[in-house]
């Protein structure tokens, strides 16, 4: 609702206060910043590359990204874009990244399902065949698709960062069911599992995902120290890029459009004033 409130303000409305979601609570996401924020913000390519590695080595074990293809990594604005290869299908880095991953295909001779190394044109393969398989492997929880995750949650990348780095051991008085973990940034209602004072129900919720990140879990190619903070920041940047790969193009186009419109308005205003100067009104 924060963004909606923002919009109202921009429209000249006054919103009294952000609404409180029915009974769920969560902590405000951490105040962390990325290079892609603001009207001129751009993605930090190295950061998005590191983020891809985190996704590939950690998240992709459970989370699909069905909107993404390997070619996206090498398209204009993508983390592995190389001006030498305007067609990402020819980009050797993208080719080798794709080649590392096996995808399912149909053998046209036999009709059998086979595995083969991916090509840039292939989509990221899903870790599970279907929703039921995904739930069965994750204690009944469904790991959501991450393609547009950075836009699908209030707070966006900030929420993702906070969630990933914010796991806590449950405070005394909170008994969570087996296979659930406590994260104060995950929206939820913990009153059912709370045995402490009625007014002091901890914020946040019980999430089915175990803390996925750990120091040293991913070895970054550029030698960045692999802390949880670094991993979470980078993967959040990667997911933001994946959620809107055309963001840089949008802002660039917008800058031109704004300048044009300002000049256009100025010209029209001058024209209008000139036309009307002898009309008394």
């Amino acid at each position: 609702m924060l963004r909606k409130g923002f919009a109202f303000a921009a429209l000249g409305f006054v919103l009294i206060a952000g609404p409180v979601l029915a009974a769920t609570t969560e902590e405000e996401p951490a105040d962390i910043h990325w290079s892609f924020e603001g009207p001129f913000g751009k993605f930090d390519k190295e950061q998005v590359q590191r983020g891809y590695k985190v996704y590939r080595e950690v998240c992709s074990a459970c989370h699909a990204m069905e909107q993404m293809s390997f070619r996206n990594l090498g398209q204009k604005g993508g983390p592995f874009y190389d001006p030498k290869y305007p067609n990402p299908n020819n980009n050797p880095v993208v080719k080798s990244l794709a080649h590392d991953i096996q995808v399912k295909d149909i053998d046209t001779d036999t009709g059998d399902v086979i595995s083969r190394p991916a090509t840039p044109a292939d989509k990221f393969p899903a870790p599970f065949a279907n929703e039921y398989a995904a739930r069965a492997s994750n204690g009944g929880s469904l790991p959501p698709d991450l393609s547009v995750m950075a836009k699908a949650r209030e707070g966006g990348p900030r929420y993702i960062y906070s969630l990933l780095s914010g796991f806590k051991t449950p405070p005394a008085g909170l008994t969570l069911p087996a296979g659930k973990y406590y994260d104060p940034y995950f929206p939820g209602d913990l009153s059912g599992s709370w045995h402490g004072a009625a007014k002091a129900v901890p914020e946040g919720g019980a999430i089915g995902m175990p803390p996925p990140l750990a120091p040293g879990k991913v070895t970054f190619d550029d030698g960045k120290p692999s802390t949880v903070k670094e991993e979470a920041t980078d993967v959040a940047a990667f997911l933001m890029w994946a959620a809107e790969p055309k963001m840089e193009e949008r802002k660039q186009f917008g800058f031109g459009a704004m300048i044009y419109l300002l000049i256009f308005s100025g010209l029209l205003y001058a024209s209008y004033k000139r036309l009307w100067r002898n009309v008394e009104h």
Partner: protein, 184 residues
């Protein structure tokens, strides 16, 4: 604007200013409006061009072992039929013989297959007249006959008779091994 004249007629030429300067601002505004429409027109037209996923359509690999001598196999490639034909020695000979015949779209048979692989002819199976799919071994030359308007192609896929202007196109392809090709 302070010295507005009460009841002034809306006469554009009432002021004694240089009319060129007066017109300039109106013309500039008009041009800017046209520019804005033009600037937006391009994205609105370009959206009809092939999208990113279409452009990225995978190239295909094909195992030539599937084609029997004297036959052809049709596979789908970028939405179009692709003819892979295993020509007999007789068919190759007929094609070479006509290299210097009166061809509408002159091309030697040599130029239409990979060096040393004369038996394999790989063609885009789309008639160059209006896009129908020619039928195998139809027509007078033993190549293909387009059922729509009777274009006749020879065993090298060259246009010999009928309304089509050009030979059947040869796509970009390469031999990955002796029996495997990659198209696109």
């Amino acid at each position: 604007m302070a010295d507005t004249v009460a009841g002034a007629s809306p006469d554009l030429h009432a002021s004694g200013e240089d009319p060129n300067r007066r017109d300039f601002i109106h013309i500039a505004a008009g041009v800017a409006a046209l520019g804005a429409v033009g600037g937006l027109a391009w994205p609105f037209i370009d959206q009809m061009n092939p999208a990113g996923d279409t452009l990225a359509l995978a190239s295909i690999e094909f195992d030539l072992g599937k084609v029997v001598e004297g036959q052809q196999v049709v596979v789908k490639w970028r939405g179009k039929p692709l003819f892979v034909r295993y020509r007999t020695a007789k068919e190759i000979e007929a094609a070479i013989k006509d290299d210097h015949a009166d061809l509408r779209d002159p091309a030697t048979d040599e130029s239409r297959h990979k060096p040393g692989k004369a038996q394999y002819l790989v063609l885009v199976g789309v008639c160059t007249h209006l896009g129908c799919v020619p039928t195998f071994q139809g027509g007078d030359y033993g190549g293909w006959l387009c059922p729509c308007h009777g274009s006749v192609y020879d065993t090298s896929g060259r246009i010999r008779k009928g309304p089509a202007p050009l030979n059947l196109a040869v796509p970009d392809y390469a031999f990955l091994s002796d029996s495997k090709i990659k198209v696109g």
